[in-house]
Amino acid sequence: MKLVIALIAGMLFGGGLVVSGMTDTAKVQGWLDVFGAWDPTLAFVMGGAMFPMAIAWILTKGRSPMTGGNFPAPPEPKLGRNLIVGSVLFGMGWALAGLCPGPSIAAISFGGTSLWIFLVAMGAGMFIAPRVRAMMDA
């Protein structure tokens, strides 16, 4: 059952990414290009996504997940240097290619060689990340 739910969730996520236009790097770069031809689409995507998600969070109160176990613990209030440094690095990469992790997976079937180059580099980055984090903590 967990796997069926994961598949449905993944399909909704992937379908939403394509429909919203987030697999089009020009739209993402357009959102970040405040001094150029600014494209507000991403704000509508984020807003649209937060609506069902906020309801879902409210529904978790006093309940358990359908397939058992527990809901995630309340968010940690601690910010920390890793959150800031990591987010800044991510934002730079996000702007450079116009891709974040979700859309880079959703576009696998039609993104061509360029997308695969990005994916391999992203995978390499994720692979070395624990070592980078250890260096930062040292």
Binding site: G10, G21, K27, C100, F110
Partner: protein, 146 residues
């Protein structure tokens, strides 16, 4: 505003966004999991998520499969992705390292975090959008490279 595509883009964004949020809601209420793309992928890459690898792989398969289905009916395959290898590699490395150090990306910190008013999610989102905006300003407006 004479461009029809421009007038409908926000609507597609909103509808697509609702589906993204619905996916996150299903994953949370069904499996008790936060739908964060970088965490789901990263856990497979660095081995930290191998204990529930099947759930991650099936989720990611869904993310790949649905666009294939959508594209049968609607050609939404324009990516406008660059073919500059250096730019792609730099971007991929930054996204990979950054999201894992920050423990989240647009879906985890952005969609799932902000919707429960997580301070970490809000702060992360402010910083990656600011860093992205400044990077765009530098490389497009100032240098004209991208």
């Amino acid at each position: 505003m004479e461009n029809i595509a421009f007038q409908t883009d926000w609507l597609y964004g909103l509808i697509g966004g609702l589906f993204i949020g619905l996916g996150g809601a299903v994953f949370l209420l069904g499996n008790g999991r936060i739908m964060g793309a970088s965490g789901l992928i990263g856990g497979l890459v660095d081995g930290s998520g191998w204990s529930n690898a099947a759930e991650r792989i099936v989720f990611l398969a869904g993310v790949v499969i649905m666009p294939i289905i959508v594209l049968q009916f609607w050609d939404r395959s324009e990516t406008n992705i660059t073919d500059n290898v250096l730019q792609l590699v730099a971007a991929g490395l930054l996204v990979g390292v950054g999201t894992r150090i920050a423990n989240g990306c647009t879906s985890g910190h952005g969609v799932c975090g902000i919707s429960r008013l997580s301070l970490r999610g809000i702060v992360a989102t402010v910083f990656y959008i600011m860093a992205g905006g400044l990077t765009m300003a530098l490389f497009r407006a100032v240098l004209g490279w991208i």
